[in-house]
Symmetry: C2
Subunit: 209 residues, 2 copies
Amino acid sequence: MTTTGSAEPAPRRRRGRPGYDQAAILRAAVELFNRKGYDATSVGDVAKELGLTKPAIYHHVTSKEDLLGQALDDALDELTTVVTEASRERTGETAYERLREVVRRSVEVLVAHQPTVTLLLRVRGNSEVELAALERRRRLDDRLAALVAEAVAEGALRDDVPPPLVSRLLFGMVNSLVEWYRPDGAYEPATVAGAITTIVFDGLAEHER
Amino acid sequence: MTTTGSAEPAPRRRRGRPGYDQAAILRAAVELFNRKGYDATSVGDVAKELGLTKPAIYHHVTSKEDLLGQALDDALDELTTVVTEASRERTGETAYERLREVVRRSVEVLVAHQPTVTLLLRVRGNSEVELAALERRRRLDDRLAALVAEAVAEGALRDDVPPPLVSRLLFGMVNSLVEWYRPDGAYEPATVAGAITTIVFDGLAEHER
């Protein structure tokens, strides 16, 4: 169901009449869901935003929940790819190295898919679609916590903070990006990813090193 | 305008008829705003949630926006107190010590005022009340970034990550609490605050120490 499967930021490719295809409708819907809230947004609002009629929207999507599901799948499919690759054991690569890599790649996904990840992080479980998304998120969180535990077990990370708490806080820091990151702002994605790994793995305090 | 000015978690004190006073109305409204979204919640919904009539609600509050303003002030007043105390220079206390203290106390505020801080962190600036709250938040963020810069200047923190980025990420980690922390869960607030300061200041990597 993913409509923007590539890692490129904000894909502008369009099918059919410019601005009227499914990807454009999804982008407009996600923007409204994030700005006004999902419950307060109607399919009519999406149509109005694009200067279309409601039937023109329904030519491309079956319901508002369909749009929500597509948006959440966009974010979840990208994050699942990143976590799946990081969870896979590879010769010559430690869990610690894979954990650093998953942080770096998560930052890239959050920047390239900021609107749909923002929506995902605000989902509360108010419908079947939202509950399914929360369940997929929970499984990703579990796999990230397992990767942290693996890095602790191999002796690379300190063992005096519980791995599930480390994972919550580390990816809490990563996820906070969606609230303040601006693609036209002061920091490149690589700068932000580098700052996160430096802070979290090496620490900020001078006297500790 | 703050109705829950103390640091105690979820104050249950009530005036007048049990469950019908202003604090109870505010709690119910905040819970609905967080669950359904502010735009999708009406004063009628709040009344229904409490088993009251709309006029009974309007006996205590002037409007839905009034409830939002009170809720946001509750969170902002608490956070402002913490940041103001941390920003004040004190004999014998370094900026680094005050930064660790503001992290610890912010965690306490987020746990004790989780519903109103959750609401605050989701505000997008859709009205005068929201814009005023965003402006207060921005001033707090600026003061936190200044405190980080001060700790770098005194030589306590590494200087190879820009202080505003450190501040964003550090308090992004702290703020992530509102999304997953459960008062009846596995971790005491002090455990979470300790984990954050350990991770961020000392770092997780064994080989760095």
